[in-house]
């Protein structure tokens, strides 16, 4: 065992605070502030190569790196869970390069990096939620040319997106999109909420916390400031509906949190558990307290 590796100070001297160099941070920081001034607009930035593959949150960690301060308490979740590979690796990365405190409790965290979920616990003012985004352009699968999608955003020309949702209704009787459900931010830009389940969409609206989005491979940063109107696209006669599996969590019994379906036996028996591990833990503790009384 190398004695030097035990000394956290040495790690910090090897890396600049929170890994990225100052010039890169300046570039990301300028993009982040413009993103906050123009809610939902995707600001291009020159994304750096990070010590992890694309698709693992390279955009998210660049945003986190640019925002992190020494007294931050960091929480990292992947599909709502604190203990999955992606979450554990990113948490360790910032422990090593920024020496920040970490937590699994949503309410204790000052900065939360997330992949594909918004925590069930309500967020507070000045908390930052950093989303990892694979495809930041909501129109990309409808129009592959960047020059065209950019023009469509500039002209607020979103007819194509509504045609797509309409075709869903014509074919299936309802809007099929269940995750990455497009939203309109501050009445202007159609925005990709990252692949969160549409159950989470209403949480983006008028949230007191700061929501930042980083797409590393696609080189885009965007933001939803606090208390911003975020509306899921829909039709008057087919209003948006947040949706979840109609069961209770088999650990904590919660019926209002988003559930993961798991197969528990060889003959395909199913069970449902909370996707948000911190929320599930909290509910379980509350239940056992109530039983004690």
């Amino acid at each position: 065992m190398n004695d030097m590796s035990k000394d956290k100070n040495i790690d910090i001297q090897i890396y600049n605070f929170a890994y990225l160099d100052e010039n890169t941070k300046r570039m990301i920081r300028r993009a982040l502030l413009k993103a906050l001034c123009i809610p939902g607009y995707q600001v291009p930035f020159s994304s750096r190569e990070m010590p992890m593959p694309y698709g693992w949150g390279t955009g998210g960690i660049q945003v986190t790196s640019a925002c992190l301060i020494p007294k931050d308490v960091l929480k990292v979740i992947d599909q709502g869970a604190d203990d999955t590979t992606n979450a554990v690796s990113i948490r360790k990365f910032f422990q090593k390069t920024a020496n920040v405190a970490v937590t699994e409790k949503t309410s204790d965290a000052s900065l939360i990096q997330t992949r594909h979920r918004i925590p069930e616990t309500k967020l507070k003012e000045q908390q930052i939620l950093v989303y990892q985004v694979p495809i930041p352009e909501p129109l990309r699968f409808l129009e592959p040319r960047e020059t065209e999608t950019r023009k469509m955003h500039a002209l607020s020309e979103y007819g194509l997106m509504f045609v797509k949702l309409y075709e869903d209704i014509a074919k299936h009787g309802h809007i099929e999109t269940a995750y990455a459900y497009p939203v309109k931010t501050n009445g202007n830009y159609v925005t990709d909420p990252s692949p969160i389940p549409k159950f989470d969409n209403p949480k983006m609206n008028n949230n007191p916390a700061i929501q930042l989005f980083g797409a590393g491979r696609e080189q885009r940063i965007y933001a939803i400031p606090p208390y911003t109107n975020v509306k899921s696209l829909d039709f008057e006669d087919y209003p948006f509906e947040a949706m979840k599996a109609n069961f209770k969590c088999s650990i904590c019994g919660s019926s209002d949190s988003y559930l993961d379906e798991i197969i528990v036996s060889d003959d395909g028996k199913r069970s449902y558990i909370c996707s948000d591990t911190d929320y599930c833990k909290e509910q379980t503790q509350l239940n056992s307290k109530e039983e004690d009384q």
């Binding site: 605070f17 501050n186 400031p225």
Partner: protein, 190 residues
């Protein structure tokens, strides 16, 4: 900047400053504090912090008349490598309110790239302040603040999603009015 200023501290100070900027930009109309640093006397701590945290050799900075001194230029170029530029090309502009007018010479972005617009840093001075109500992203319900020439801010917000973004700086204090903020004048005398 203390004498013992070195790399890891620059990194930490810039991160703390940036966080104040994130908060100020996210919650327009509220006051946030920035820490002290060594800078030319004419610049406030807050204005100097914004420049040193955000500018690099890709940034065009416009210094309005009183601020366009050799001391400020030397300090800015030495610390950031920024380019001292004219109004039309400025990414950042620093000055007191009167000296930054007229605003329409600054770039407000283009429809495809609304972020290619100037950020104005307005230093505290004795301008006439008028009570305004503001609402919009980052503001819960509404707030009351005082602004100089509110009609110019109202015009700016009509350009949305194009437009200018403003920071008001006063010693350690910073307050932001981004283009997304909607302004209405409360005083009927105005």
């Amino acid at each position: 900047m203390e004498n013992n200023y070195h790399f890891s501290e620059e990194s930490i100070n810039s991160s703390i400053s940036f966080r104040s900027l994130v908060n100020a930009t996210s919650y327009p109309g509220r006051h946030f504090q920035i820490t002290k640093l060594k800078k030319p006397n004419i610049l406030s701590n807050a204005a100097a912090t914004i420049l040193i945290t955000l500018c690099d050799n890709e940034s065009n900075v416009y210094l309005s008349k009183d601020f366009s001194t050799d001391e400020v230029k030397d300090w800015l170029i030495f610390n950031t490598g920024a380019i001292v530029s004219d109004k039309q090309n400025a990414d950042f502009a620093v000055g007191d309110w009167e000296s930054l007018l007229p605003l329409d010479e600054f770039k407000t972005g283009v429809p495809e790239y609304p972020e290619r617009s100037a950020t104005l840093i307005i230093e505290e001075s004795n301008y006439k302040k008028i009570k305004c109500n503001i609402n919009g992203p980052g503001i819960k319900d509404k707030l009351q603040i005082e602004l100089p020439n509110p009609e110019l801010f109202i015009n700016n917000s009509h350009l949305y999603p194009l437009g200018l973004d403003f920071y008001f700086t006063n010693d350690l204090d910073i307050l932001s009015i981004p283009r997304s903020t909607k302004i209405s004048v409360t005083n009927s005398e105005y």
